[in-house]
């Protein structure tokens, strides 16, 4: 394939052999930072330093083979080679690239990844951290409807030093369980991107298009009680939870990235504010949860966003 598609991904320019429906196109003249190429690379094997059921790693190299979809090889923090299975569903290929592929790629670039959704507020990026099923996407969608620009849905990329931490925009798609569409009053979901289990996708607006300083990380918890509460955590208290929400931590060991990840973990713990949000499963309480979050954390949409949301409402 000679034609490249160009996209934005975590503030980087991606040149891809494959058309990707979820990413924002890049219209700059900048040279690409990332290359995703279709290639039959399976003859060139490498010696694994660690492995799971479908994946294996070596320093600077990661490979994952998903039956009936594709094998991807991620190299040196800038390249993904894609060996497609004939007739593979392209939506599943894209899902594979935008989960495990992106994770390994950004880890190789020593960018810290948190299993979190993120949005922009006037005081900086706020992250909603939790495992699958913790309600990140639902809460993100409700906040997006109040004018907070989305930064990411499931994988949040943070680049940090001792002095600063920046959160980078991913892509503007949110994946939700079907019943959440009704709760949020959203229109019919977009045609399904992949055969996810009971999930459908919608495009978030507004979407944040540039890196944002990290402000807060909120850990999400459910309670069977009908009570909504927010508690503060000191950095040191937050470390275990922060650590347990590292995205695809299992890939790090074989790529010899545990140490740099630990350094980033401590830098983030020293700079962000941490809270735990506990709330009931009842979807009817969603607006109360968002009210509580705004009130207790003192967050508001940024002025610019606020105006644009008001203008949209006026239109």
């Amino acid at each position: 394939m000679s034609k490249h598609f160009r996209y934005r991904l975590f503030d980087l320019v991606l040149a891809s052999d494959l058309k990707l429906d979820r990413l924002l196109p890049d219209e700059s003249e900048n040279a690409p930072d990332l290359f995703w190429k279709c290639s039959d690379f399976e003859q060139e094997t490498f010696e694994a330093t660690d492995q799971g059921l479908l994946w294996k790693t070596a320093p600077d190299c990661f490979e994952l083979a998903l039956p009936n979809v594709a094998t991807i090889r991620v190299k040196d923090g800038h390249e993904i080679l894609i060996n497609l299975v004939p007739d593979a569903p392209m939506a599943d290929v894209e899902t594979l690239l935008l989960s495990a592929g992106v994770a390994a790629l950004m880890q190789q670039r020593q960018v810290f990844l948190l299993h979190a959704a993120a949005f922009e507020s006037a005081s900086g990026a706020v992250l909603l951290a939790g495992v699958s099923g913790s309600g990140k996407s639902l809460l993100l969608s409700a906040l997006n409807q109040r004018g907070y620009p989305m930064i990411s849905d499931d994988i949040t990329a943070i680049s940090c030093t001792k002095q600063e931490a920046w959160v980078h925009p991913a892509w503007p798609k949110v994946s939700l369980m079907l019943d959440a569409f009704e709760t949020l009053g959203l229109d019919r979901p977009e045609p399904n991107l992949g055969q996810a289990q009971g999930k459908r996708t919608f495009t978030a607006t507004p979407f944040c298009s540039q890196k944002t300083p990290l402000d807060k990380i909120v850990f999400l918890k459910w309670t069977p009680e009908d009570a909504i509460s927010i508690s503060n955590l000191k950095g040191i208290e937050a470390l275990p939870q922060l650590s347990s929400n590292v995205y695809r931590r299992t890939f790090l060991k074989g790529m010899q990235l545990l140490e740099s990840n630990f350094t980033a973990l401590n830098q983030i713990a020293a700079q962000a504010q941490f809270n735990t949000l506990t709330r009931p499963h009842d979807l009817r309480r969603l607006e109360n949860v968002v009210d509580k979050l705004e009130e207790e954390l003192g967050i508001i949409p940024s002025n610019k966003t606020h105006q644009s949301a008001q203008q949209s409402a006026a239109r």
Partner: protein, 284 residues
């Protein structure tokens, strides 16, 4: 796919319809095999989570399993269980899932690493009462739920990978029709004759019986002791908002709790399997 080093048959599946004594039996097993002279903490029970908890799968596969088709996941499950086999928290594994097969007909509960299954069953009339409290659902709705393969809650759909519990009858039937060594244990026998019932479990596992250890295990895990622990420390596996997990632990509680109509509904739904398991339908 990565080649997995062959492991011996070391996984025992503790299969039950919900609220039938699964946790209790695993506490007995964990206590006996620990060899300790003190009761185990209910919150430190190895393999406290279900076999099909999504987080475990996501970690091993390196993927968000929720983002891919159910069939892909089902077909990978025997190999995932092979990977989990042999670890300390994957020896006596809790499942409320019917005996299931992949698209190629292989048992999801991998035969390569499974030593067998213990099917623990309980009188469905008592299950209805217990489950109604646990799910905070009316007894009539609980009876309906027990009669068919009900849709899981959103929480269950997101925290667990897709699975089928079936009805009270079809759950047991699926394990009878499975293809691995199976021992059936009745909750009522475990309550009334714990030494005999638990000895059968140990014999099924080809484990020599240490009488002193057996007695201690049973005493440590008497229902009132587990209930006292829960009252004191709580129970981490409790996520439904019910008042307690270890509630009464009695047989025939249904006689005070179910109307004759409710009893008749349960008999009508499950009479064949009840008789097969030795529960004589009677109306009180």
């Amino acid at each position: 796919m990565t080649t997995i080093q062959a492991k011996s048959k070391c996984t025992y599946w503790i299969a039950s319809y919900p609220k039938s004594g699964n946790t209790w039996l695993r506490m007995l097993l964990a206590t006996y095999f620990s060899g300790l002279d003190v009761p185990l903490n209910i919150n430190a029970l190895p393999s406290g989570t279900l076999a099909y908890h999504r987080k475990r799968f996501d970690e091993l596969l390196g993927l968000e399993t929720a983002d891919f088709p159910t069939e892909t996941l089902t077909d990978l499950r025997p190999r995932i269980y092979d990977m989990m086999a042999g670890s300390q928290d994957f020896q006596f594994v809790k499942t409320h899932e019917c005996f299931t097969r992949t698209s190629s007909g292989e048992a999801v509960f991998s035969e390569a690493t499974s030593a067998g299954a213990i099917l623990i069953v309980r009188n469905p009339l008592d299950v209805a009462v217990s489950m109604s409290h646990f799910l905070r659902m009316s007894i009539d709705d609980t009876i309906t739920r027990m009669s068919r393969n009900s849709q899981s809650s959103q929480r269950i759909q997101t925290e667990l990978i897709p699975h089928e519990t079936g009805s009270w009858s079809s759950f047991a039937q699926s394990w009878f029709e499975g293809s691995m060594p199976l021992l059936v244990v009745r909750y009522e026998d475990l309550l009334d004759q714990p030494e005999m019932a638990f000895s059968k479990v140990l014999s099924f596992m080809n484990e020599p019986i240490n009488e002193a250890r057996l007695q201690k295990t049973i005493a440590f895990n008497a229902f009132e002791n587990l209930r006292a622990q829960e009252l004191k420390d709580g129970f981490a596996a409790m996520q439904t908002g019910a008042a307690s997990f270890f509630r009464k632990g009695q047989n025939n509680n249904w006689k005070q709790q179910l109307t004759s109509e409710q009893q008749e509904r349960l008999h009508s739904d499950h009479v064949s399997m009840m008789k097969q398991l030795g529960y004589e339908p009677q109306i009180v």
